[in-house]
Amino acid sequence: MAEQRARPLSPHLGIWRWGPGMAASIFHRISGGALTVAGLAVLTWWLLALAKGADAYGDFAAIAQTWVGVVVLIGLTWAFFQHLFSGIRHLVMDTGQNFDLKPNKASAVSTFVGSVVVTAAIWFYLLGVAK
């Protein structure tokens, strides 16, 4: 019987470098986690404040309009659109398409461009018009 040699293992977690594809993948997970933990907490808090009354909602709105509150809400907006766009990309890839290197890279980059552009547009509108 042949001598037992160490079998080659997949590089897995040890060997990787930054690129649009891996960035889209890891940010899909990070944005999904942030939306679930922080996003759903804010959603529930917002609904509870609205249910409780005008004073409670006033407290919520006051906190939401501090700079920390605005940064969190901008972050959640970006996470929402990043997760939405990379989610659509995942659904396309689930059908077996978009695996050629160049189109795949282009779609990964476009998720970031799209999420930043939409988030910026929404917040320019909100901060410019609503205040």
């Binding site: 997970r29 999904g32 986690g33 939306l35 679930t36 996003g39 759903l40 907490a41 959603l43 529930t44 609904l47 509870l48 609205l50 249910a51 005008a54 909602y57 006033g58 709105a61 907006t77 929402f80 939405l84 989610g87 659509i88 659904l91 689930d94 929404i122 509108y125 909100l126 609503a130």
Partner: protein, 131 residues
């Protein structure tokens, strides 16, 4: 899951291979993502196109069927999809079966509790007195 020695050959392998078992979670994550694509865009667009984000306007919106019903669906689907996503993260990184079960069960309880709270708040708004 194998049912033990008393089960048939088929019974022993059921659920162990790519036999249309185990894919439910993967499918449910994607179906709920499609629902959230619609409901999430509805929520963001509604908040942007409402005449204001003050207490009275939001209460009036969530008391109308076209505000309350999609919001209830959004709450249910977002907690469901968020739990599906966090389960994938837990299964990826927590390998010890006891810890994996404990953490997934904890997340399930937190998600159901959070969703119930959010739905209670929404019901209170929708069925309560006008602001």
């Amino acid at each position: 899951m194998s049912l033990g020695d008393s089960s048939t050959e088929l019974g022993k392998v059921r659920g162990l291979g790519s036999a249309r078992e185990g894919g439910e979670h993967w499918i449910s994550e994607r179906v709920s993502s499609l629902a959230l694509l619609l409901l999430g865009v509805w929520l963001i667009a509604s908040l942007l196109f409402l005449p204001g984000l003050d207490y009275g306007t939001l209460r009036e919106w969530l008391r109308s069927p076209l505000g309350a019903v999609p919001m209830a669906l959004f709450v249910i689907t977002s907690f469901y999809h968020g739990l599906d996503g966090l389960k994938v993260v837990v299964d990826d990184y927590v390998h010890e079966p006891g810890s994996n079960f404990a953490l997934n069960t904890l997340l399930l309880f937190v998600a159901v509790f959070g969703a119930a709270f959010a739905l209670f708040a929404l019901a209170k708004i929708a069925f309560g007195a006008a602001a």
